[in-house]
């Protein structure tokens, strides 16, 4: 019979060390993130004014689909998603390709310029865009000066133009951010691949589509998921730029949740239900994205 060893075996020690490193962080995530998520879900099953909530099953979720403003906000958010994200990503990848050119002078300067918008505070830039597009703002004055218009156009007072202003603001802000990711991805492509393509007679455009984009696929998938996540949760622009837009034309889902809880008569259960809806949407879209883009297997 083998004598039992005193203390732990080496393997057990390593396992214990592993758990010791994991537990503090996991515990913190569990308490700070997962526990509130669970409580929020429970709250979403309740309804009532302020603190006087009572259990109501899934009525909040059913109610969401009759809430005209909420449905409007879902439509608006998807509008931003479908229009803004492709424009932004295409622009980002083109800029990254341009600024990856080794022979370009002042590359660092241009890269900084394109990335600088990301360093601005969300609230500040939204306010500034609002001033720019005001009826007597800079853009209107410039257009009048150039003779294109004879009196200021109410950008933020018309539904479609307000949405376009938000899209312009988003593209301005986030293109640099995604460009940096693409630049990093481009650095990983060896120059020899491009040399080989040049020898084979491929022009710039063909090189771009046949070599660069496929090699950048993981990065593209990642930025796409991040953009979907960010756009679906859009809040600051909706609040500060247009305040929900002319008659809820630009309101986003998060903004509506905020209004429901803090602006109107607070119904926290309903707000939680809508938040969970956003969460499920993001999860589904990210999942689809990964499945479609994952060509590894």
């Amino acid at each position: 019979m083998k004598p039992k060893k005193k203390g732990m075996t080496l393997v057990a020690k390593q396992k214990a060390a592993g758990w010791a490193f994991l537990i503090p962080a996991s515990a913190m995530i569990a308490i700070m993130s997962f526990f509130p998520m669970v409580k929020a879900f429970i709250l979403s099953l309740q309804t009532g004014k302020g603190a006087a909530v009572h259990f109501a099953g899934f009525t909040n979720y059913a109610r969401m689909f009759q809430d005209k403003v909420f449905l409007r906000s879902v439509g608006n958010t998807f509008f931003y998603l479908i229009i803004q994200v492709p424009i932004m990503l295409v622009l980002a990848i083109l800029l990254a390709q341009l600024l990856n050119n080794r022979d370009l002078k002042l590359r660092g300067f241009f890269r900084t310029c394109v990335f600088l918008p990301c360093a601005t505070s969300l609230v500040s830039y939204a306010l500034i865009f609002r001033f720019l597009f005001a009826q007597d703002g800079f853009v209107n004055n410039a257009l009048i000066g150039l003779g294109i218009l004879d009196h200021g156009y109410n950008f933020l007072g018309n539904a479609m133009s307000a949405k376009i202003v938000i899209i312009i603001a988003l593209v301005w802000r986030w293109t640099g951010y995604n460009m940096v990711f693409y630049l990093a991805g481009l650095q990983n492509i060896e120059y020899s691949v491009y040399e080989a393509a040049k020898i084979d007679g491929a022009n710039g455009w063909k090189t771009f589509w046949s070599i660069t984009v496929p090699l950048l696929k993981p990065t593209i998938i990642m930025t796409f998921i991040m953009s979907i996540n960010g756009t679906l949760q859009l809040f600051d622009e909706s609040v500060n730029l247009t305040n929900g837009g002319p008659a809820n034309a630009t309101i986003t889902m998060s903004h509506h949740v905020y209004n429901t809880v803090f602006l109107r008569t607070p119904n926290f259960g309903y707000g939680c239900a809508m938040s969970f809806f956003i969460f499920v949407l993001v999860a589904i879209l990210a999942f689809i994205n990964m499945k479609v883009g994952d060509t590894r297997d």
């Binding site: 009532g48 302020g50 603190a51 009826q135 008659a247 803090f262 109107r264 926290f268």
Partner: protein, 446 residues
Amino acid sequence: MKKKVISLMLVGAMVASMAACGSNGGSDNAAKGNTSATEEGGASEGGNTLTVWTWDPAFNISAIEEAGRMYKEDMGHSDFNLKVVETLSEDCEKKLISAAQSGDLSTLPDIVLMQDNSYQKFVSIYPEAFTDLTDSGIDFSQFAAGKLSYSTVDGKNYGVPFDNGAVIGAYRTDILEEAGYTVADLTDIDWNQFIEIGKTVKEKTGKYILSGQADSPDMIMEMLQSAGASLFDEDGKPAMTDNAALKECIEIYKTMVEEGIYYEVNSWDEYITSITGGSTCGVINGNWISATIMGMKDTEGKWGITNMPKLVKTPNATNYSNNGGSSWYITENCKNKDLAIDFLKSTFAGSTEFYDNVLKQTGAIATYAPAAASEAYAQEVPFYNNQQIYKTIVDYSVKTPTNNTSPYYYDGRNAIGTQIQNIIQGADVDSAIADAQAEVEFTMSE
């Protein structure tokens, strides 16, 4: 070795900057809300100190600090201390929601200023957050009835009314003259006559006669209240469809925009600019807008104040209405309620001298009836061409009709504000109102 030292230094610098950032960020946030206070926090302390949350240094804060000074020095409470924590109105409301929702009222101050429009919402959801003042000895009969209704629930008084939100019409006399009118032509008229005058003014001078935010229902609500009408019925249920008064107000508003005499802007700062930049020669709003008007120093002596036009078809139409205004409330977290009640009773609810001083400093006009009889209120104001505006405004507030309020008042206002924009863009008035009603009913359904 060198690399190790450098990397250690960098890590140290990072940690230090994060710590500094953290505490700086914290105190920065507090400092933003505390420009006139000494410490952060702002919760009730008890003892001889009263903590107050309010906003607007030129107006409310100046007034309550004057009250504190008078209470301490002139009324002999030398150990009294007043701590004012500057908190914007929306922030007051959000903090109240957060505190009351969590059940932990300990972060609340002793006294908080709240806008009259929103108070009913708060007291219906969180009645436990406010103190009933009905039997506290404060004499509520001296306040205008229309104003008191905002802070009264089920016959119980919760708030001490403060500033007067009576609606005034302020007009540039020189521009009116150019078009051939005087301020008297705009007094005691109805909206049809007003629209005619507006059209002539626009034709002859190119100026709008009114302006306002496109998504703000202020103008419509002012018109409604001028006839004692409301978006809600006596039971607090939304009564927007089949509401002839509302329909008339919307139609008048639509006509003004279409005729080009009402300038619609998109945000609050644009609204202020439309006044100070001179795009409009007239303003109809709560009299607190006078502070903005009086900021236009180079137009001194060229403004006149009168009442607003009255509705044509609606019965009980008057030329008087209310927009805004707030009242002081004592929270349940107040540790020294007797002190707070005595403080409010001696100043806001008892001292005409207080209101005189406040009038000089801030232009804040009382809803306290005895105050209106004092000399300061009878003074002629040079800016308004030596009109006795203060007396006039208090007089308007007394004549303002009351109307039905509701905890969902804000929701109703919001819904109408949204639908107005649709109506201006061409939507059918009846279906837009029906949508607004449906929205409010949806919010009210639990």
